[in-house]
């Protein structure tokens, strides 16, 4: 491969889904030894563009070259892989019923013949050790048993692994949205090592900090086109947000809200089963954050509260916002409207029959309120981008009549602008007396909370009122003193 020709050339790529034009003539080049950051709102066309490059979608018009050869007419995922294009999908693509090693074999067909299992195990195990040292995953684990963070690590490691086909271009679509801060840092430093060794990388993320730190160049997408493309050092957080067309970030801090802990009644009390764990208490109208590294027992506590399980005292009805939307949230055969209204059907009953017009109007009202990008709520839920599906799940819970809302790391794949709007909605709802339990691995989200509990190894290890909550204290509590 010559150094002076780009590895990937996208020229005038257009793609429509029915009435929605997802890509309007995108032209982009990717060079060897660079990381290209790709940012934009939910539905701006980022994932569609990468699905075209990785061969999953055939563009309506336009040309795609990889390593000097035009592959537009032979665009299949297999062919893209043969040319060295690898993709880490936002909706993970692992087979849940197979082991980690068997999943690695699927994308590396050159591992074959007797002893393939051993070689597949060595390949994926070695790559996991390189990218995520201390990952705690065995190559024989069944993927379906792994947490979403670990599944994401396997998917990433598999894409960087090299057999007979090289990994020339690795596309990372929201790779850190399911990872905690520690794993995300490991991944991003691996991306830098890989790029410096001559590889190319496309990094899609809503976390502007990591985009600015990791990328060499940044492309900003809006409404299906690239609106800005420049070296990363010419951007900063504000200019990126402005280019994406977001409303300016809401500077309102949670600090100006009154502390209600002393006066409001307790509505949730729970104590994780781990020994020496502190207890959690949520008072009516509070936003309570569950912090810590991912998979430390936060999801289990949230589900216990949702189930009114023994060990959790809950006053009132509970609705849940899923973070792992494929496993816990979305009904894939239903329309957007059905997916939103399923949480509130009781309200639309006329006798024993559901008033479908009313249910649909309700969904449409929430589509406007939360800004789901679709012309019609009767379209299938899977026609939405990942972040917009997540908004539908928010609408389902916020639109329900539940007094308590539990959220399981719910902002995965949601863009900056929408996040700010949803934060605002959560604060307004809390002011009206709703109580929120919010598991998140992002520091910015914890700042919206009135009270934060830090989880470690299945128990609560720190209990921080808003006034005492700092990033340092949360991180400090997340790790054992001897680790």
């Amino acid at each position: 491969m010559t150094k002076d020709a780009p590895v990937v050339v996208l020229n005038g790529v257009e793609k429509s889904f029915g009435a929605v034009q997802a890509l309007r003539g995108v032209s982009l080049e990717l060079w060897a030894g660079e990381c290209l950051g790709l940012v934009g709102h939910n539905g701006a066309g980022k994932s569609t563009l990468m699905n075209v490059l990785s061969g999953n979608l055939v563009p309506d018009t336009g040309r795609i070259e990889v390593a000097g050869s035009d592959i537009t007419d032979r665009l299949t995922p297999q062919n893209a892989t043969r040319h060295g294009v690898r993709c880490v999908y936002q909706e993970l693509s692992l087979c849940p019923n197979l082991s980690v090693a068997e999943n690695a074999r699927i994308t590396h067909p050159s591992i074959s013949g007797p002893g393939w299992r051993r070689r597949a195990r060595a390949l994926i195990g070695g790559m996991l050790d390189t990218v995520f040292p201390g990952h705690g995953i065995s190559a024989d684990d069944i993927v379906g048993d792994l947490s979403i963070a670990k599944r994401q690590m396997v998917e990433i490691a598999r894409s960087f692994a090299v057999t007979t086909t090289e990994a020339r271009v690795v596309i990372l679509d929201e790779p850190t949205s399911s990872l905690d801060a520690v794993a995300a840092t490991k991944l991003l430093s691996h991306v830098r090592r890989y790029v410096e060794a001559g590889g190319s990388c496309v990094l899609i993320s809503h976390l502007l900090g990591e985009i600015l730190e990791t990328s060499d160049r940044i492309a900003v997408m809006r409404d299906g086109g690239v609106v800005e493309l420049d070296d990363a050092e010419h951007f900063n957080r504000d200019s990126l947000v402005a280019a994406m067309g977001s409303v300016a970030e809401d500077a309102r801090d949670s600090a100006d809200r009154p502390v209600i802990r002393d006066s409001a009644p307790i509505v949730v009390e729970a104590r994780p089963k781990a020994p020496d764990s502190l207890a959690l208490a949520a008072h009516q109208g509070e936003v309570v954050g569950l912090a810590g590294l991912s998979g430390q027992g936060q999801t289990e506590l949230i589900v216990d509260v949702f189930d009114h399980a023994s060990g959790a005292q809950v006053e009132g009805s509970v609705a849940l916002v899923a973070g792992d939307r494929q496993t816990d949230g979305v009904f894939p055969l239903w329309s957007i409207a059905d997916n939103i209204s399923v949480g509130s059907l009781q309200r639309f009953l006329r006798g024993i029959l559901i008033d479908q017009t009313q249910a649909r109007d309700f969904a449409d009202e929430w589509r406007q309120r939360i800004g789901i990008r679709t012309p019609d709520v009767d379209d299938p839920i899977l026609s939405l981008s990942g972040g917009n599906q997540q908004k539908a799940l928010f609408a389902r819970a916020l639109g329900s009549s539940a007094e308590i809302i539990v959220m399981d790391d719910p902002m995965r794949g949601v863009d900056v602008g929408t996040k700010q709007e949803v934060y605002g909605m959560i604060r307004d709802e809390a002011a009206q007396g709703r109580t929120f339990l919010w598991y998140t691995t992002e520091m910015d989200e914890l700042r919206n909370c009135d009270h934060v509990y830090v989880f470690r190894e299945g128990g609560i290890v720190a209990d921080l009122p808003r006034a005492e909550m700092t990033e340092e204290r949360v991180l400090h509590a997340s790790f054992r003193a001897d680790a």
Binding site: T327, D328, W334, V342, Q346, I354
Partner: protein, 315 residues
């Protein structure tokens, strides 16, 4: 999109097209002789298929692994006990009906208890319980065939304006089933569970309550079918449910309901039931031998299912 095109995207249309096609083929072959009699017979036998298939449809829609294999045994048990209790007496007809329905509900409750408490997969639970129910039926009537009360027998063969009364009643039942599936909390719950049981639970669907109700309803409908079929065929026979095992599943699937769960429709049940009966009639009329008949039945069913899935379903 015009209305005409839209109807071809409905999952149930192919079963209806198949039913009409085989009926026309039969009528053409006989030059129209007996065509209305064939149709009338198809509606009567189709009605029995639809009763059990309606319950089976709700069970299958609960998702992978959910199927009720105890339908034949339940039909036999309900039929024999009801016939023996009535013992030909017209005054006992309502009592017999209640007994058949209660036996069905009991069978469903036992099935669900096995599935829930012993955590046995539904396919195994209903298969093994069916042996017990079948043995109970054998023990109960000791091989005797008790005749149904005469008015009940007349009722199952009665016709209004040439249309079998039982077919009209089952059409009303089907409309009720359609409303239940599409317009009630229960129906939405069944479809949600079939798509993703964990997501359904986390969205607030009362998963276990709905699963219990579904298995009980399915067996109760099987009990009703056993009662009516015994009355229709002059008494309960121990093998009377046999062909209802596979046909109840075939009718559901040909009718455009997803075997993987989460996607169902009622109109297809009637189309598929008529199609299955008319298909066998057509092959008989053509004078095909038993072997050819089975091979052709299999091939034609495959054809309809392929046509249906090419129409709309994605997975």
């Amino acid at each position: 999109m015009t209305g005409v095109l839209h109807i071809f995207r409905q999952p149930w249309i192919w079963a209806w097209i198949g039913a009409v096609a085989v009926w026309l083929a039969t009528a053409t072959f006989t030059q129209g002789r007996g065509a209305t009699e064939v149709l009338s017979a198809a509606m009567t036998f189709g009605a029995f298929f639809v009763i059990v298939a309606l319950g089976q449809m709700f069970v299958i829609t609960l998702g992978p692994g959910n199927v009720d294999l105890s339908i034949p045994a339940c039909m036999t048990l309900a039929g024999t006990v009801a016939m023996k209790t009535m013992d030909g007496s017209a005054g006992m007809i309502p009592v017999g009906l209640l007994i058949a329905l209660a036996i069905g509900a009991g069978v469903g409750a036992i099935n669900y208890a096995l599935i829930r408490m012993l955590r046995i997969p539904p396919i195994i639970a209903t298969l093994s319980s069916s042996f017990i129910f079948q043995s109970a039926a054998i023990w109960w009537n000791r091989g005797l065939r008790v005749k149904p009360p005469e008015p009940l027998g007349d009722f199952t063969t009665a016709k209004i304006a040439g249309v079998p009364l039982i077919a009209l009643l089952v059409m009303i039942l089907a409309v009720a089933g359609h409303v239940l599936l599409t317009r009630t909390m229960y129906g939405r719950g069944v479809v949600a569970i079939g798509q993703n049981i964990r997501a359904a639970h986390l969205a607030g669907v009362k998963v276990e309550r709905i699963r219990a109700a579904t298995y009980i309803m399915c067996a109760t409908l099987a009990g009703l079918c056993g009662y009516l079929l015994s009355a229709f065929s002059g008494g309960a026979a121990l093998n009377m449910g046999e062909e209802y095992l596979l046909s109840s599943i075939a009718v559901v699937v040909i009718g455009g309901t997803s075997v993987a769960g989460g996607f169902a429709n009622v109109p297809g049940l009637w189309g598929a039931a008529l199609f299955l009966f008319l298909l066998v009639t057509m092959l008989n009329t053509f004078g095909a031998g038993a072997g050819v008949r089975l091979v052709l039945t299999g091939l034609i069913i495959i054809g309809v299912i392929v046509a249906a899935s090419g129409g709309k379903r994605r997975t």
